[in-house]
Symmetry: C2
Subunit: 511 residues, 2 copies
C-alpha cells in the first residue's frame, strides 16, 4: 500500500482577520466558521483518512509551540501529529519541498496531500470523496489540484482553465474523472473574471494539492533548480548515511521534535542534531508559492472539479461565501442589536454592538479592539495593523485572553503599578515553579481549589479564600482537582509585565 | 435692583446619545464637547452673571440626587445651587410654571432666564453679552428668546420668523436691538427649510428664554388656564399664609430641600411639608412645552439674534456643528486609527476602534457597548434603547463605571458567583457602614491607604496589603488620606448585585 500523508501548511499570520487574529492568534487558530478553529477542523477532516502519525504540520519555529498547545484539545491524537518547523517562512514551495525530503526518507513512494490550515470546507464527506479521486490521480504520477466551480466573477482568487475536451460545464456537477489543466491564471480584474465566467471551463484555484513525494521532488528539480539544490544540501545534513531513517516521534510533553529543528548548533554529543547551516540555507531561499513555482509551469497537472463548498476566507468579506445569511443578507454573530442593516456582517463576542442602517459593512469586535469597514475595503485592515505597529499599540500582538498549555489568563485591567488577571487552570494542571523580582501577587480563588507552593510550604486555598505571594518568593499555582480552578490575581509592583519571571521547573519545558 | 434667576432645565434623559448616555447618565451629565459636562458648563456659564443661590436646577425627583452628586465637583458654589424637583416630568411649560410660583413668593418682580442644561455654547462672553440685551427686554415685560442665524436648511430645529421691518438680514451681524417676532414654526421639511433660508428673516429657535416671573405667570393664566389653575392649587399648599416666604437653603449634606418635594405625606409635626395632593395635581398636568404652549401663541415675544455659536446637540450627528473637523471632515476622539474615512465621527475612549473608508458615519464606543450608524439614521438609536429594554440587556441603564458621592466604582468582570470591582475613594471620603447578606469581599489596596472598620475593630490597610470582609459582617471603607484610595474588590457569593446592602450610617443620607 502507498502511504498517504497530510501536510497542513500553518505558517500564515492572517493579518486580514484582525482584530480577531493577532500575532499570537493567527487566522488558522480562529473559530470563524464551524464548531472549531480552522486548523483543528483541518486536522479533524483528515483524521481517519490518514493515521495521525501521517499528519504533518508545517509551520515556522516561532509559531510551533503555540500551535502544539493549540491542538492539545484534540487529545491523544494531537500528540501523534508531527511537525516540520521552518526556521523562517519562505512561502509554500520551500515548505512543501522541505517536507518532501523528510517524507522521501520515510517512504519515497508516499503521497502528499497539501492542505492550507485556514480554509473553510463545511462538508467533510464530499471533500473526502473528491480527495480519493485526487489520490488516484497522484498515483498515476500527476500533480493534482482541486478546482472550485465559480459562482461569481471573483477577483480575489486565482483561476484554473481546463482543456476544452474535458471541462464541459454541463458535466461538472457529477465529475467522475480528472480534468486536464490547460493553464493557471493569477487573480484577474473584474472584466477578465466576468469573461472567465461566461466562457466556462474556468475554476477557482483552491490551493489544495495531491502528488507523490518523488514526483514533486522531480518537478522541483526541473522547474526550481535552486530550491532543489538547497533541499539536497539540507537533506545531506539531516539524513547523513550514519543516521537511520525513522519516523519522528514527538515526546509526551509536546516538544517539537529535535529532528525538525534546523537552527540548533552542531553538538558532538548529539550527532543527529542538524547544523545551523541547514537553517541558513533555508533562510536564503527565495520565497515562492507552489502555485507560481510549480503548478503554473508544469504540464503534468490534473484537476478534480470539487463537489464540496469551499472558501479560502481571504478577508472578513469572505464570510459571505460560507455562512448562511439572514433574509436581509446580514450575518449577525454575538451580542448584537441591529436596526435595519442590509448585507452586513457584525461579528462580535459578549460586548454589545448596536448597528443601524448599515449597508455592505463589516463590524468586528473583540474585548480590546473594534473594526468598522465597508466590505469592499476590508482588505485594508493590513494598513490598520501596520499603523498599530508604528504607534506603540499592542492590539495586534495578543488578545486580552491568552491561551497557555495549563489554561488561560485574561488581563482585566492594567493600571499604575498594578495589573489584574483572571487565571483559569485546567484540571490537574500547574504553572511553573517561579518567582517575580518586581511584583507581589494577591490570589483570590473564585472557583475550585488551589494548591499553592510558597517557598517551603504547600497549602490549599479554597473558593472565597485568598493568599499572598510576596516579591522575590518562589511559588507555584496548581489545580489538584478534576474541575477548573479560577483565581483573580492582583499584581502590585513597579513593573508588572510578563517578562518578569524566573522559572525553576516547568511541565511544559519553558525554562 | 431686579433679582435675576437662572433656571436650568435638567429633566431630560438623552436617549439619543446612547451608548454614552444611560438612564443614570443622561445627556446633560456627559462631557461631549468642551472641558466639562454640559450641565456643569451651563452652571459655570451663569456663575457671576447671577449669584449661585439664584441658580435653580429643575429636574425630576428620581434624577435629583444623581445631579446633586454630579455638580459636587463645582465645589462650594454647588452647595448654594437650589433644586426644584418635579414628581414626574411634564415637559417645560409646567416645569417653568412650577419654578415661577416659587420665585413669585421670593420676589415677584424677579427675572427668569430659562436654560436647557444640555446645549453647547462654546463662547460664554458673547452669550452673556446677548443675555444682557434679553434681560433688558424682559424688564420691559416682553417674553424674550434667542434666535440663531441659520447656516443650512436644518430640519431638526424649530424656526422663528421676525417681523420684516425689524429683521433685515444685513443688519443681523451687529444687532443692537430686540427684534419683534412674527411667528414660531415647528420643525420643517427640507423644502420648507430651504425656503426659510432663502427668504431670510428666519432664525433657529434656541430654546433659551428670558422673562419676568410675574409676566410668565400672567401669560400662563391667559394661554394655558388649566396649568395656571393647577399651579395656583400647588401654590396654596406650598405657601399657605402661616408659612413665611423664605429662600430655600439646601443643607450641607446636599439633600434636596424639603420645600422642593411635592410627594411627601402631610405630617402634623412638619407643617411645612407639602401635601401629596401637590404631586398628584402636578402629575395630572398635560405635558406641554413652553415653546408650543406660550411662545408660539403669545404676541408679546421679542427675539435677540444670537451672536454666539450654539448647538442643541440633538444627536451624535449634531457634533458636526460644534466640534472642529479635520481636513477630511472627520471628528476622531479617543483611541482611534482611521484609514481614509470622510465626514465621519468616531467618538471613543481607551478601547481601540479602527475605521476604514467610512463615509458620513458615526461610531461611538464605551467600555461595554458600541454603536455604528450612518449619520442620517443616528436618531434611530432610540430604537436600539427600546430593543435593549425588551431583551433584558442592561447596557441602557448604567455604565461600567458608576459615579458615587464618595468616588466611583468600575465593574471589571462579573462571573458565576463572583464580581470584581475597582473602587476609587476621593480624599477623606468614606462609604456607608454596611453589610451584605449574601456575599463576602476581598479587598486589595493598589493605591493609597484604607481605613477599614470590621465589626468592632478598625485598622489600616496599605498599598499591596489586603483584607477580607466575611458575609454578614458590618464594615466600612474609608480614605483617611489626602490622595485617592484605590482598591480591587473581589466579591464572592450566591448573589453579587448592588441591592444586597444594609446601610447603618451614611454620610450621604442614603439609609
Amino acid at each position: 500500500m502507498t502511504e498517504i500523508h497530510a501536510i497542513i501548511l500553518a505558517g500564515g499570520s492572517g493579518v486580514r482577520f484582525w482584530p480577531l487574529s493577532r500575532e499570537t492568534s493567527p487566522k488558522q487558530m480562529l473559530q470563524i466558521v464551524g464548531e472549531d478553529t480552522l486548523l483543528r477542523q483541518t486536522i479533524k477532516r483528515m483524521n481517519g483518512f490518514v493515521p495521525p502519525e501521517n499528519i504533518w504540520i508545517v509551520t515556522t519555529e516561532d509559531k510551533a509551540q503555540g500551535i502544539r498547545f493549540h491542538i492539545d484539545p484534540l487529545g491523544a491524537m494531537a500528540k501523534r501529529i508531527q511537525f516540520i518547523n521552518e526556521p523562517v517562512g519562505r512561502n509554500t514551495a520551500p515548505a512543501v519541498g522541505l517536507t518532501a525530503i523528510h517524507l522521501n526518507h520515510l517512504s519515497p513512494d508516499s503521497i502528499m496531500i497539501v492542505l492550507p490550515s485556514d480554509h473553510a470546507i463545511p462538508d467533510t464527506e464530499r471533500f473526502l470523496k473528491d480527495l480519493k479521486l485526487a489520490v488516484e490521480g497522484a498515483q498515476k504520477d500527476h500533480l493534482v489540484t482541486f478546482g472550485i466551480k465559480p459562482t461569481r466573477p471573483e477577483t480575489g482568487y486565482g483561476y484554473i482553465k481546463t482543456k476544452p475536451d474535458f471541462g464541459k460545464p454541463d458535466k461538472l456537477d457529477k465529475p467522475d474523472k480528472l480534468l486536464k489543466v490547460e493553464r493557471f491564471f493569477e487573480k484577474p480584474d473584474l472584466k477578465t473574471a466576468k469573461k472567465y465566467l461566461s466562457d466556462g471551463g474556468y475554476f477557482w484555484n483552491s490551493g489544495i494539492f495531491v502528488f507523490k513525494t518523488s514526483q514533486i521532488l522531480s518537478e522541483i528539480q526541473t522547474l526550481l533548480p535552486p530550491l532543489y539544490k538547497t533541499l539536497k544540501k539540507i537533506e545531506s545534513h539531516l539524513f547523513s548515511p550514519d543516521k537511520p531513517n525513522r519516523p519522528h516521534k514527538p515526546d509526551k510533553l509536546n516538544r517539537p521534535e529535535k529532528l525538525d529543528r534546523l537552527d540548533k548548533p552542531d553538538r558532538p554529543d548529539k550527532p543527529d542534531r542538524p547544523s545551523p547551516l541547514c537553517a541558513m540555507h533555508y533562510a536564503k531561499l527565495d520565497p515562492i508559492s507552489l502555485d507560481y513555482g510549480i503548478m503554473e509551469r508544469s504540464d503534468n497537472i490534473r484537476m478534480v472539479p470539487a463537489t464540496f463548498k469551499w472558501s479560502d476566507l481571504g478577508s472578513w468579506a469572505a464570510l459571505d461565501e460560507i455562512i448562511e445569511k439572514d433574509k436581509t443578507g446580514n450575518i449577525l454573530k454575538g451580542n448584537t442589536i441591529d436596526i435595519g442593516s442590509r448585507n452586513s456582517t457584525v461579528f462580535v463576542g459578549d460586548r454589545l454592538v448596536a448597528t443601524i442602517g448599515l449597508k455592505d459593512m463589516v463590524v468586528v469586535d473583540t474585548p480590546d479592539a473594534t473594526l468598522v469597514s465597508p466590505k469592499e475595503r476590508v482588505q485594508e485592515v493590513r494598513k490598520v495593523v501596520e499603523a498599530l505597529k508604528k504607534t506603540n499599540h499592542e492590539e495586534h500582538l495578543i488578545h486580552k485572553t491568552v491561551e497557555r498549555p495549563w489554561g488561560s489568563y485574561t488581563v482585566l485591567e492594567k493600571g499604575d503599578r498594578y495589573k489584574i488577571k483572571r487565571v483559569v487552570l485546567k484540571p490537574r494542571a500547574r504553572l511553573s515553579l517561579q518567582l517575580h523580582r518586581k511584583r507581589s501577587e494577591h490570589w483570590v480563588v473564585v472557583a475550585g481549589v488551589a494548591r499553592v507552593t510558597r517557598e517551603n510550604e504547600t497549602y490549599l486555598v479554597r473558593t472565597n479564600e485568598s493568599t499572598f505571594i510576596p516579591i522575590n518568593t518562589k511559588h507555584r499555582l496548581e489545580n489538584p482537582k478534576e474541575v477548573p480552578l479560577q483565581i483573580i490575581e492582583v499584581q502590585n509592583g513597579d513593573y508588572v509585565e510578563e517578562d518578569d519571571i524566573v522559572r525553576f521547573s516547568d511541565d511544559y519545558n519553558r525554562i
